[in-house]
Amino acid sequence: MSVNINHTALSIAIVAGLLVSACGESTSSSSGESFGTSLATTPNPAPNPSSNFNQQALLENITDNIITPVFEQFATVSATQIPEIAAYCKMEKDIVLGNATTEQVNATRDNARTAWRNTMNVWQQAEVMKVGPLTDNEGLLRDKIYSWPVVNSCSVDFEVVNFKAGVVNGQPFNIAQRTPSRRGLAAIEYLLFNEQLNHSCMTSTQPENWDNQTDGYRKIARCEFALEAARDVNNSAKELITAWSGNNGYASTLKAAGSIGSQFSTELEAINLISDGLFYLDTFTKDGKLATPLGLQANSCGSQACPDVVESVYAHHSVTNIENNLLAFQKLLTGKTGTGFTHYLIDVGDPDTADSMSTDVQLAIDGVQSYQNSLADALVNNEAQVTQTHADVKQVTDRLKIDFITSLSLKLPATSAGDND
């Protein structure tokens, strides 16, 4: 029996030992050169030994000299918008009291509109720089500033009423807690530029008694909510600056890529995020702002030219928006006076793509700058011009999606992969 017990004890000891020692699991692997989804393991493209390009310089130039100035400028112009709208609101109130003339109202309204255009011009450049804080939380901060193409004028009509009442759903109205399509630059555009004072709701629920109010009441109400929205946009601009700048800002994070402790193990990972931002030109500018109103992509007019679905329906600012998208893209591509992606392309031995993309984007800018009328007008009277603009932009984005990405060993953003282009 003692032998038996010893035998049993030995067996138990072996099993217990195996259990405690995590049982000798071992895993090994070998893989192909392009296996793995992480850029952390993607080898850098072969550099040109005679070039003085380096990825760190690219990141520093793009963050410090291109993106940061745009974000800072946006904070400035969005602040400037506030007093201009406030002045316009005051004049709308004054005219109701008989203390102002129509000319005075129109003048302040035009100033407010100009301030909005100036703000939008800067923002349209920032749109191509969607990295870090502008992509966090599924782009919530970006959407709070400008939610297009998710816009809803009826919702804005409701917000005007809610703001006027000071209460929504039994709670004090707080624009900071409202969904993006009810605030931001798109809402301000509707409020400042829309000449139709009746509400725009086609739904079964509509703002109560709105259409029965006097013109003055409605203009003042809309202007006051525009002012509130402008303050909110400026708050979002400050939030962006806070998240971007400073020692702990995202700009620093990008520039620290590849260093010990960085969230990016290689510079290429950070560069790929900036590259993702460039694809705004493909998805939004080419597809949303041109192909959709042209009817090349689905629209509400049955896939034919459709002026009602241009980006800027009320301010007729669509062409300028496209121009600013292209200008921002050009700055990022060429690096302005510093190191840009064209330098990187040359460094990896693809000067053809660098040259052709630079040429193509300038051609597209030239084409857009030649517009004499709004995009909506052009769709009706000169559709060929819009078609050409689309082709010009597509020339750039086609190279972006293939030559640019391939030469620089970057990855396509998920939303751009597998489209029908």
């Binding site: 138990i12 195996l18 259990l19 699991e25 090994s28 192909g32 969904t179 597809d287 949303g288 629209n299």
Partner: protein, 737 residues
């Protein structure tokens, strides 16, 4: 059949619940050992002295409710957690002891002792699940009793037994019709002439579906399964020896969808289906070839199986909206359908509005896949005395290979005038890759009888070589070869207290391998599982109570459309969480009250308490996790489950009523994912079955599933709220000879 025989059956109905059913004793001409190698749990009425929780649901029990839905069968097994999906159990989600039920990927699923998942190593999600209606027994193994069955050992194993070839000429036909166009035709015939026996067994089930598609259309399914077996008995005076060939073919066309409803729409009509799902279709075929050789005598036996399963499917279904300037996903839209951002998409989904933007186009994804699973396995039972102790050795190996070949495509559609219409664009290729695994498994079990103690030592080895290749053009360089080796020990014991009772304990290591595609940075799932239990078994009562504790070192999950995850370009990609633990109590009790000489009242009670929680904080993109804190509980794990099964059996009729209660379940563990803080609704389902014997003319039966017609949200995955099956009546006739 005389009245005594009826009474006998009634008593058997009462006594054989879950255990000790040998449905084949009266028909099988094969050695008892051979039957046991197919159907694993013992057949006698004595106290079972194997350690480890194991449950047998025999043919008599399966016949009681004649469920076609594996979920309904397994609800009465303690320790089983299920996420319902389509109401019919077409693609079940089964977990044991807190393991994620998603596509039953963490349990080992077998048919007649052979792995039956489409590619159990390379892609363990069980999109093919055998037809329950053709099974004569189901066995559930948990705890250390599962160490013999791999590759997954974290949770347990489910073995389903098909009909054995009968000794004499025997056959039956079963016809049933019911609500929602339900129809079942089931028949088998088999016999043994001398040493040669054969069997043919066929089942057809169809239904129009209980959901109503907006704008009209099919929501039902059509399933067929035909199986043949041929057997030759080579036994002589020294050895029992059997060779058997099994051939099977099955197919299914089901107009199923991953799309559910918003909570608001669910409240108005739980059985509604949005128009956008009108083209969704699962279409698969499954073929099986299996050769079995058995040889043995009183001292040993060896069972060897050679198998090949082929599975091919096209699963064409709504995948989401076309990505573009606005990117959203179906789960988000259905969770918050009224926001300005989601309302236009919701209106398109429901056909209220036509597609007006490119990003409002519907993408249908056809996830075409071909799988195979093949191998050879053999196991030896050897009974020896070593060092004065009785030993029962069980040693086996398996050389297995499986493969999944993905050829996914997508097509774009618009909603135009309330109909789903192709936009005319070309079909685009999606995931195009192959994952292949070759695995050698060995196991060793030694049960030593040391007086009143039966002590079992077990050891399993898995040696896995996995290959991944991206087959898309210009992606030749995306490949990986990976090898994983692991030894998985177990220790368990049963101490017999008396003829009727005993206590048992067990500890074993749990393992889930990673798929071939996953980089080595994704770790295997690894756990140490403990259990402690007691068992009582006398002539009229059985009781088993088990406490278990699973200490999980690294919980692993995978991304799939069925989890409503935006997998991007990483379908079936895997996620690691960290440490987690599951503790639980499984309790099953049954007793038969003899009301009079003519009436018996069998009762079964099954209760499971489970609490699974994360022991480490982490943030994950996996849609069921999110930002998890220590102590957050696991998703889709009800804390309490209770099943009460009461029957009344007379000489020529019987009525059975089964009531199940399932607690609410979390849809997501942590914060900051879409379904954070959302739970399924607690559910009570009552099913009724009654049958009446017509003497030599067979019997008729009546079934009423979900007697109370209580439909709750059983899950909000894959996309949106989905119901359990509504009240469904059916009537059937069985004749056997």
């Amino acid at each position: 059949m005389n009245t005594n025989a009826h009474k006998y059956i009634a008593v058997v109905f009462a006594f054989t619940l879950h255990t000790n059913v040998n449905a084949n004793d009266s028909t099988s001409d094969t050695p008892a050992e051979y039957t046991e190698r197919v159907q694993i749990i013992g057949h006698n009425d004595k106290l079972r002295t194997e350690a480890g929780a194991a449950t047998l649901i025999g043919e008599v029990e399966l016949q009681k409710f004649k469920f076609d839905d594996i979920n309904r069968v397994l609800y009465s097994v303690p320790g089983v957690n299920i996420r319902e999906e389509d109401g019919y159990g077409l693609r079940p989600n089964i977990g044991f002891r807190g393991a994620t039920p998603e596509r039953s990927k963490k349990i080992t699923i077998m048919e007649d002792g052979v792995l039956i998942g489409p590619a159990p190593y390379s892609a363990p999600a069980a999109y093919y699940f055998p037809m329950v209606s053709k099974m004569t027994a189901l066995e559930v193994f948990k705890g250390p009793s599962a160490i013999k069955y791999g590759p997954n050992t974290v949770a347990g194993a489910l073995n389903m037994t098909t009909r054995q070839i009968p000794k004499d000429k025997e056959g039956a036909i079963d016809l049933a019709f019911g609500a929602d166009g339900y129809a079942k035709t089931k028949a088998y015939f088999g016999t043994t002439n001398g040493n040669f026996g054969y069997l043919i067994d066929a089942v057809h089930i169809e239904a129009d579906g209980f959901k109503t598609l907006d704008g009209g259309g099919d929501t039902g399914f059509d399933k067929n399964d035909i199986m043949t077996k041929f057997q030759y008995n080579l036994s002589n005076s020294q050895y029992s020896q059997i060779v058997e060939m099994k051939l099977a073919y099955a197919n299914e066309k089901s107009h199923e969808t991953y799309l559910g409803l918003t909570d608001t729409d669910f409240k108005q009509n739980a059985n509604r289906r949005y128009v956008v799902s009108q083209k969704d279709l699962m279409d698969w075929e499954h073929q099986q070839v299996q050769f079995t050789h058995f040889i043995g005598n009183d001292n040993f036996d060896i069972t060897t199986r050679l198998y090949r399963n082929d599975f091919e499917r096209s699963w064409d279904k709504i995948k989401g909206f076309k990505a573009g300037a606005v990117v959203t996903d179906l789960q988000n839209i259905l969770t918050n359908p009224e926001t300005d951002a989601n309302a236009p998409f919701y209106q398109v989904l429901t056909g209220q509005r036509d597609t007006e933007r490119e990003y409002e186009k519907i993408i249908l994804g056809d996830n075409q896949r071909e799988y195979y699973s093949q191998g050879i396995q053999s196991e030896l039972y050897l009974y020896q005395e070593v060092f004065d102790a009785k030993h029962a050795f069980n040693i086996g190996f398996r050389v297995h290979q499986d493969q999944i070949e993905r050829r996914h495509t997508t097509d774009a559609y618009t909603i135009t005038s309330g109909k789903l219409v192709s936009d005319g664009s070309a079909t685009l290729a999606g995931d195009t890759n192959t994952e292949k695994t070759t695995a050698i498994s060995v196991f060793f079990k030694d049960t030593m009888t040391l007086g009143a103690l039966d002590l079992t030592l077990g050891l399993r080895g898995e040696f896995i070589k996995a290959d991944y290749q991206n087959d898309a053009p210009s992606k030749e360089g995306e490949w990986q070869k990976k090898s994983t080796d692991i030894w998985l020990p177990s220790l368990s014991g049963f101490y017999t207290l008396s003829e009727y009772s005993g206590v048992f304990f067990g500890v074993h290591e749990g393992f889930v391998p990673t798929s071939p595609k996953e980089p080595t940075s994704v770790k295997i799932e690894n756990s140490i599982n403990y259990e402690l239990g007691a068992r009582y078994h006398d002539e009229s009562s059985q009781l088993e109570a088990v406490i278990f504790y699973n200490d999980i070192e690294n919980l692993k999950e995978s991304c799939s459309f069925s989890t409503a995850s935006l997998c991007q370009d990483n379908t079936d990609g895997e996620f690691n969480s960290g440490e987690a633990s599951v503790i639980g109590l499984e309790l099953s009790a049954k007793h038969t009250y003899e009301l009079s000489a003519d009436y018996d009242l069998p009762i079964l009670l099954s209760y499971t308490y489970t609490k699974g929680e994360f022991d480490s904080a982490f943030s994950s993109d996996f849609s069921m996790w999110g930002d998890v804190n220590v102590g957050d509980t696991l998703p889709y794990l009800p804390e309490n489950q209770l099943t009460l099964d009461i029957g009344l059996a007379a000489n020529n009729w019987q009525v059975n009523l089964i009531t199940r209660y399932i607690d609410e379940m979390k849809e997501a563990s942590g914060e900051n994912v879409l379904l954070s803080g959302v739970t399924t609704q607690a559910l009570t389902i009552v099913d009724l079955a009654a049958s009446y014997e017509l003497g030599d003319m067979g019997n008729i039966y009546f079934k009423l599933d979900n007697l109370l017609d209580d439909q709750e949200i059983v899950s909000r995955r894959p996309y949106g709220a989905r119901p359990s099956k509504p009240r469904t009546a059916s009537i059937g006739y069985q004749y056997s000879f």
